[in-house]
Symmetry: none
Subunit: 223 residues, 2 copies
């Protein structure tokens, strides 16, 4: 599930991205209006979080541009007390509206509510290289092979690796992202999960080509 986050405040942008990534969403970031519109088109996001005040194009203009092409849920962010903004945003077809400051939990709850409302449980598959993940169906497809069914944990692991395709992800981070919060001593779980996943997706599980061991963690190889 891809969420586009457009905000020129780097701190806030990263905070939102981190919160959503923890919740299993794939965060796509943009720092200004024009790049938000571009990235939306490129990535075909499933939900958009838009700051009202952005350089280039305002959140309103971005919202308008997006609405011209798509009915994807849009959540607008603005500073407190600008009532005009709220009315304008909802008039432009935004689906929800949040005033800063807000807590990550609040944001997450509303985003989940929007997703639920939009009926977007399943969505376009995530893909990188020959690996494409279908979150709705809980399957991966490697190249043109038959899709393989994955369990919840396998799916989550692969999703995290896919989100950082080509780069190594540390064991600690994977533990946190897949299980939520584990002591770093719990490598055994990860070891097993990787093993099981390799059995499913590697042509030769003994010589991993896709899911490789990397410095202090693992990485997904996409050529």
């Amino acid at each position: 599930m891809k969420v586009l986050i457009a905000d020129d405040d780097a701190d806030l942008r990263e905070l939102i991205a981190f919160t959503l990534a923890q919740a299993g969403y794939l965060a796509i970031k943009a720092a200004d209006g024009p790049s938000a519109v571009r990235r939306f088109a490129e990535e075909s996001a499933d939900l958009v979080v838009l700051d009202v005040n952005m350089p280039g194009l305002s959140g309103f203009q971005v919202c308008e541009a997006i609405r011209a092409r798509s009915r994807v849920p849009v959540m607008m962010l603005t500073v407190r007390g600008e009532e005009e903004d709220l009315v304008r945003a909802l008039g432009l077809g935004a689906d929800d509206y949040l005033t800063k400051p807000f807590s990550p939990r609040t944001l997450l709850a509303r985003i989940q509510a929007l997703m639920r409302r939009a009926g977007m449980e399943s969505s376009a598959p995530l893909a990188a290289g020959r690996v494409s993940l279908d979150l709705g169906e809980h399957t991966v497809r490697i190249g043109s092979a038959e899709p393989v069914r994955l369990t919840k944990l396998e799916l989550r692991l692969l999703q995290m690796l896919l989100a950082h395709a080509g780069r190594a992800v540390s064991s600690d981070r994977l533990l946190v992202q897949v299980w939520g919060h584990r002591s770093s001593g719990d490598r055994q779980l990860l070891k097993q999960l990787v093993h099981r996943l390799r059995q499913k997706i590697e042509p030769d599980p003994a010589a991993p080509a896709l899911l490789r061991t990397a410095a202090a963690g693992y990485k997904l190889v996409v050529e």
Copy 2:
């Protein structure tokens, strides 16, 4: 369009009623929880505005009662800064949430947004593939077979699956949408309901062809 306004603060209630009346809605008023539930049933309102703090039954309880019977849009009102409330309200199936104090314009804009959204959703098709649902008669017809009578819950379940025909709908979402509240631990209910529905609509209930188990939920197969 009828809007039910439930708030024990007479001033606020009248203010909201006046605002909505100006905008062309028919306002129905209730001053406490039990009368809100009663009036909702009597008047079959198209949208509900609920204060969280009310005598008799809290806004949450009223929301739960309404969700048990209807998917009408619900907007909750509460005092500022009660983050728990927000999470809880959205979890119970409320559609929007506003913190006091708010301006009448804000309320109106959000209510109109909710109405718009509800209007879009109500156009959801009642048929897909060989499955067609008659909400008035409480029946389904599979292909050209005889229509089958469904119970209230079976109808709701099928309606939800039909709204996302071909895609998987998670158990949690089905629980919220069919029963209205329910914690995700209550899978037993869903299990039973699916079983009973399959007995009615599947040619061979032991090998489901229409209502299939999918990743973390169920889906309706339409070829």
